[in-house]
């Protein structure tokens, strides 16, 4: 029997259900009389920004000449120094021979700028990146302590992991910002990165511990029987094997971190979520912005998990 022939009705059903969900969402917004203004959204990604060119000192316009879609304004100040301004054609606000005072506009230039949504996305990405790296190091150390013989190290690691995993991230961020931030005089960005790193570290520690413990005991015994001490055996035998196994869950943890980083918006870090809130206050396009923000997170995490799947396939081949 052909497996393909038997599964297509189910995919059809899936499509019908998804379409049904979309239709009912649309129907629901019809009922509350919401006007969708999707056209307003793109300008919050990129827009053409206007720069007004102004003269630096008092003086006189000597010449205005057109050069394609640009105009060149030649201006001579009181000391006799010549200035040339290139501005967009049609924005010239002066005429030859006109006297100008310092700060008077000559014309404008236009350039593409990234809007708040892209800026916020960028902040989210590097915030996640740095706290991810820091969290990885922290988690590696904590994970190694967790499997150490020394009860003090083990205890410290257990307390760290349990406390962090047993409290909400939002509360941890507040503690880092209001308590540690005040006591240690930390910048809000630093407090945010630290809070995320400490949070991620606890989960990384568990992943590292599980990875190390998944390596058969015989590996450590073989290494020790060859005269290696514990750090040597860890470095050459256990960790290389364990890290290979923990790569997929670590990457998954990083994806979680990107999503969790949205919580730092509560301490006024302008990440993607905070940018979305700010845009809403000026557009009132509440629904559109939140859907857009959600889609942006989804695209990033989706791309990452594709990369991870590809990585996993590569690793599986080398086994």
């Amino acid at each position: 029997m052909n497996a393909r022939a038997r599964t297509w009705p189910w995919y059809l059903l899936l499509a019908v259900i998804l379409l049904g969900v979309a239709a009912s969402l649309w129907g629901a917004t019809q009922r509350i009389d919401y006007t969708w203004r999707w056209k307003r959204i793109p300008q919050y990604f990129v827009y053409r920004g206007e720069d007004v060119a102004t003269v630096p000192a008092d003086g006189r316009v000597e010449e205005v000449r057109e050069a394609g879609d640009e105009a060149v304004v030649v201006f001579v100040d009181e000391t006799g120094e010549r200035h040339e301004f290139r501005v967009a054609a049609g924005t010239v606000r002066v005429s030859p021979g006109e006297d100008l005072f310092a700060g008077d506009p000559v014309g404008s230039t236009f350039a593409w700028r990234t809007g708040p949504l892209l800026n916020g996305l960028w902040t989210t990405l590097w915030l996640s990146f740095f706290s991810g790296i820091l969290g990885l190091l922290l988690g590696l150390v904590a994970g190694l302590c967790r499997v150490a013989k020394n009860p003090t190290l083990r205890g410290l690691s257990v307390v760290y992991v349990e406390v962090i995993r047993g409290t909400p991230l939002l509360v941890q961020i507040f503690i880092f910002y209001f308590f540690l931030g005040t006591v240690l005089d930390l910048d809000r960005i630093v407090a945010g990165v630290l809070a995320l790193a400490v949070f991620a570290g606890a989960y990384v520690a568990e992943i590292v511990r599980a990875g190390i413990q998944s390596i058969p005991r015989g590996q450590m015994e073989a290494a020790r029987s060859l005269g290696m001490n514990v750090p040597q055996a860890m470095r050459h035998i256990i960790l290389p094997q364990a890290l290979k196994r923990t790569l997929p869950p670590l990457a998954g943890q990083f994806i979680s971190l990107i999503k969790d980083s949205s919580l730092v918006s509560v301490i006024a870090i302008t990440d993607l979520t905070k940018s979305g809130r700010e845009v809403i206050t000026s557009t009132f396009a509440t629904f559109e912005i939140w859907f857009t923000v959600a889609a942006m997170y989804f695209v990033i995490t989706g791309l990452l998990s594709q990369v991870i799947q590809w990585m996993e396939r590569r690793l599986a081949v080398s086994d």
Partner: protein
């Protein structure tokens, strides 16, 4: 070479106490080949693992080449370099090639140069008959080949003693011979060996002495010809009648 006095190892496993090694005293001279046999759970592995400190013991003394493992000042890593061990499950390093399996500890522990370590490794691989597999990963080898690599890996550290814990028990029958052949060669070359095994034929052929263990104690020991053909103790007789 090895001196064991009143060795005791107790396991506390979920409430009940297991005296895995219970007052063992014996000596292994340089160049001697000693075979240890006994029923499952009699403490053979535990005894062997005490000899290179993989298992810490509760009382008694294990003196290897003049160094007492019970002495807290003894550097266990130093002793282990001199004592090679071969495991039932091979325990090769799966993320390293065969050659790297042999060179890693030489470089890390013995601080040999890469060239020196590789030359040594190639010579040993040729000796155990798998020179052509040096760049393979262990998972691509048969069980018998893996165990021969494991033996070569231990030999690469130039040990004074080799310990074998049932080296052929995890092998398909047709591969047992190739591993035993390597061990026989070693024995003839004068290596000091302690071998836990169920291969009575091998024991009779190369061992200088046999030890029968049961319930953590040495029940009977002597030249293999006598121990395995004409045992004195009832428990030895019962065990041998079941194995043979």
């Amino acid at each position: 070479m090895i001196e064991v006095r009143d060795l005791v190892k107790v396991f506390h496993a979920r409430g009940h106490v297991v005296r895995a090694v219970d007052g063992v005293t014996t000596r292994v001279e340089a160049g001697e080949v000693v075979v240890v046999v006994g029923p499952s759970g009699s403490g053979k592995s535990t005894f062997l693992r005490c000899l290179n400190g993989l298992e810490s013991f509760d009382s008694g003394h294990v003196v290897i080449d003049g160094q007492d493992l019970a002495d807290r000042k003894t550097d266990i890593n130093r002793v282990r370099r001199e004592v090679g061990m071969v495991f039932q499950q091979f325990n090769l390093f799966p993320h390293k090639t065969v050659l790297e399996n042999l060179t890693l500890a030489q470089q890390v522990v013995r601080k040999r140069s890469q060239d020196e370590a590789e030359a040594k490794a190639r010579a040993l691989l040729a000796k155990v008959g798998i020179a052509e597999k040096e760049s393979e990963y262990p998972s691509r080898l048969s069980g018998g080949q893996q165990q021969r690599v494991a033996i070569a890996r231990a030999l690469a550290m130039d040990p004074k003693v080799m310990l074998f814990d049932e080296p052929t028990s995890a092998l398909d029958p047709e591969m047992v011979g190739e591993v035993l052949d390597v061990m026989k060669t070693l024995a003839r070359e004068g290596m000091t060996m302690v071998v836990v095994t169920h291969e009575i034929g091998f024991a009779k052929e190369v061992a200088d002495r046999g030890i029968f263990m049961d319930e953590g104690k040495i029940v009977e020991s002597g030249p293999p010809g006598e121990l395995f053909s004409n045992p004195q103790e009832a428990r030895t007789q019962l065990f041998l009648s079941q194995v043979l």
